[in-house]
C-alpha cells in the first residue's frame, strides 16, 4: 500500500508535467539548493542560455516572494536569513516551455492588494513593464516590502506568457495565493 500510494502521488505530479515539487518550510538555503536543481534540469534538457537565464530569474523572484510574504513564518533566530516560510514551490516543463508555480497563505487584506497589483501588471506590454520597472527601481521600497515590490515586475518581464494567478479561501479569512509563470 505504501509504495503504491507514493507511486500514485509521483504519477500525479508527473501527469502535471512536474520536474520537482516541494511543500513545506521554504528558506533562503532551500532557494539556493532548488535553484541549483533548476539549473541542472535545464542543462539536462539543453535549454537555450537565454531561456535558462529567464527561468532562473523567475524562479528566484517567485521563491523569495514566498519567503517574504507567506504569513506562516517561523524564526530560528532573529536574523532575516533564519526565517522559514510555509509554501509550495514547483518546477516543470510542458509543451517546450518551463513553468514555475509558487503558493503561500496570506491575510485577505494582503491578497486584495496583491491581486490589484497583478491585475495592473497583466495589462502591461513588454515595453510598459520595462518602463514601470525602471520607475520602481528609483522609488523607495514600498511599505512592508524588502525592495521586493519590483520582484513581480521582474517575473512578468521574463515570463513569455501572461502570468496565471489565483486566490483560494482558507481558514480565518486567509487566502492561499498561487502564481504560475511560463518561460
Amino acid at each position: 500500500m505504501l509504495a503504491q500510494d507514493i507511486y500514485n502521488f509521483r504519477e500525479e505530479l508527473s501527469t502535471r508535467n512536474t520536474l520537482f515539487a516541494y511543500s513545506g518550510m521554504v528558506s533562503e538555503n532551500l532557494l539556493h539548493s532548488l535553484g541549483s536543481a533548476v539549473k541542472q534540469q535545464m542543462e539536462l534538457k539543453n535549454a537555450d542560455g537565454k531561456v535558462a537565464r529567464r527561468v532562473f530569474s523567475v524562479f528566484v523572484e517567485q521563491v523569495q516572494n514566498v519567503i517574504r510574504y507567506s504569513d506562516e513564518k517561523h524564526w530560528l533566530s532573529d536574523t532575516i536569513t533564519d526565517r522559514l516560510s510555509s509554501g509550495v514551490v514547483a518546477f516543470g516543463h510542458e509543451n517546450d516551455r518551463f513553468f514555475v508555480i509558487c503558493g503561500n497563505p496570506l491575510p485577505a487584506a494582503e491578497a486584495a492588494k496583491l491581486s490589484e497589483r497583478l491585475q495592473l501588471i497583466s495589462t502591461m506590454d513588454e515595453d510598459t513593464l520595462r518602463k514601470y520597472y525602471r520607475t520602481k527601481l528609483r522609488e523607495d521600497p514600498e511599505e512592508q516590502s524588502e525592495g521586493g515590490s519590483i520582484g513581480l515586475l521582474e517575473i512578468a518581464r521574463r515570463a513569455t506568457e501572461p502570468l496565471e494567478f489565483d486566490f483560494y479561501d482558507i481558514d480565518d479569512g486567509r487566502k492561499f495565493f498561487v502564481l504560475k509563470a511560463f518561460v
Binding site: 537565464r53 530569474s57 523569495q64 532575516i80 520595462r130 527601481l137 528609483r138 524588502e146 525592495g147
Partner: protein, 133 residues
C-alpha cells in the same frame, strides 16, 4: 580612516566578488548576485566606496561591473550605489562606470541601458565582452 588598503569581498555562489583598489582607484564587482539579504550585503560596500571617495578626492575613479545575474533586490542596491557615484560626480569627482556584459545576454544589456539613463555627470559605458566572469 585613510582608505589606503584594498577592500575585498570574496565571491560566493550567490554573491559577487567586490574589490576596491585604492592605488588604481578602481572598484570591481563581478559574478552572480542574489544574496540572502541584499541590503545587508551591499550596505558595507556602499559605505566603503562612499568613504573612499570622501577621503580621497581627486583623480579618476573607475567602476568595472560584470554581472552574470542579479535579482530584483540586488538591482535596488546597485541602483543606490550608482546614484551615490552620480552624486559624487556631480560634486566634482571624475567617475567612469564600465558595464560589461555577455553579448548573448539581453537581460544584462537591457539592465545596463536602464541604469545608464541616470547618469549625467558620471560616464557610463556599455561594453559587450566575449566572456563574462
Amino acid at each position: 580612516m585613510t582608505y589606503d588598503a584594498p577592500y575585498t569581498v570574496e565571491a560566493t555562489p550567490r554573491s559577487p566578488e567586490i574589490h576596491l583598489d585604492p592605488t588604481s582607484r578602481t572598484l570591481g564587482i563581478s559574478g552572480e548576485s542574489y544574496p540572502e539579504d541584499a541590503s545587508a550585503f551591499y550596505g558595507p560596500v556602499f559605505q566603503e566606496v562612499k568613504g573612499f571617495l570622501n577621503a580621497r578626492k581627486g583623480e579618476l575613479f573607475t567602476a568595472n561591473i560584470r554581472f552574470v545575474y542579479f535579482n530584483s533586490s540586488s538591482a535596488k542596491a546597485i541602483m543606490n550605489l550608482f546614484q551615490m557615484l552620480e552624486e559624487a560626480a556631480e560634486g566634482g569627482h571624475s567617475i567612469v562606470i564600465n558595464w560589461y556584459y555577455d553579448p548573448d545576454d539581453d537581460m544584462m544589456e537591457e539592465m545596463g541601458e536602464d541604469f545608464a539613463e541616470d547618469f549625467e555627470h558620471a560616464t557610463f559605458n556599455l561594453t559587450p565582452e566575449g566572456t563574462v566572469a
